[in-house]
């Protein structure tokens, strides 16, 4: 991981390798796709991807996390823009964005610190992707934040506090558990209607030579 900070060329090369791995992963995932209800742990049993050991932690990693903790305190304790959550987004050894949670200030349920830094960083690079970037979050990312990081092709996430440290105050761990339930038992009732009409638009999209894919 320390190499990513010091060598932009290597970082780009790694991002390229990772992009290929991602497509392989996509293919492997498609092979076990099983309809509308998510099979709990289905991929866990079939994943070819080996467990990744925890990596080396550098002084720079600790400095970036300290910045995230500063923003955590600022957001939750000092300015009260939202809950006490902060994040930093680093790409090729450069800080692209630093932000705190601003859910209350912005009346935006998605304005978690991690989403805020990813939005800002992507705006700066002019792409919805920051391949191989490192996300430092003061707290364990909720499923929304992890998913945005996935869509943005973040390469690594460091986090500080655990769900268990604030599970009585915020719904992060409840959402993670809720996502494991079949739709009929979810916190939000989820129901499918008009699938054939939606499939027609997909057919049309698939015939485009230049559809917006990402």
């Amino acid at each position: 991981m320390s190499l990513l900070h010091g060598d932009p060329e290597l970082a780009r090369a790694l991002a390229c390798v990772r992009s290929v791995a991602r497509r392989d992963f996509l293919f492997a995932g498609a092979a076990v796709a099983a309809g509308a209800v998510i099979p709990t742990g289905a991929l866990a049993e079939t994943a070819a991807q080996a467990a990744k050991p925890a990596g080396e932690v550098t002084d720079e990693d600790r400095q970036y996390m300290a910045m995230a903790l500063d923003r955590m305190r600022e957001a939750g304790v000092v300015n009260k823009t939202g809950g006490p959550f902060g994040a930093v987004l680093v790409l090729d050894g450069k800080v692209l964005a630093v932000a705190g949670n601003s859910v209350m200030r912005d009346s935006d349920p998605s304005a978690h610190a991690e989403v805020n830094v990813l939005r800002e960083a992507c705006r700066k690079v002019g792409s919805p992707h920051v391949d191989g970037a490192v996300l430092y979050s003061s707290c364990e990312p909720c499923p929304m934040c992890y998913s945005v990081a996935y869509w943005a092709r973040v390469g690594k996430i460091f986090y500080g506090a655990s769900y268990a440290d604030y599970g009585d105050l915020f719904d992060d761990s409840n959402i993670a558990k809720d996502l494991n339930l079949p739709y009929g038992q979810r916190h939000i009732a989820v129901q499918q209607i008009m699938r054939p009409e939606a499939q027609k638009v997909w057919e049309e999209f698939r015939q485009l030579p230049d559809g917006a894919r990402y």
Copy 2:
């Protein structure tokens, strides 16, 4: 569900009941919390919440879904602002927001149709919550979108196409499966550092009489 469209008073009363249920749910969730690694299906075995049967579908529901499908086509086929995904957000029988996916146009990995309508609706009501609102999505919401709906206290989600209809093109179902894996096997490497420092900020936050909680 049709009652929600016709009777704002009843909708508010239901939202109030739901808010209490949410706190009970939060408490039940805390009781089975189990640290940093999410136990697959833990809540599934302990949930007191009974399975909800699929509800009645009204002509209004179909009209709102048709609007979402129009935006799906506009976003993915006509204007190509992003993938073919559209959404509509309805509160108390009124359309608060209609949007398509704009990930490519906005260079924003979080700009899915569902997130776009929730952000716009919340801005309009001046709150990060739209208690009991109904979300119509052209396609099965990805974990990011479901989570934003959860944070925003959406009451019901209708969706059209299934993950399986576009699993070869977009990562939605892969992210759902990835969230079930322990951190060591995730698509993004996730590592905890400096937890004690983060816990100190939580201690400070807990002593505030007026901390921003949501």
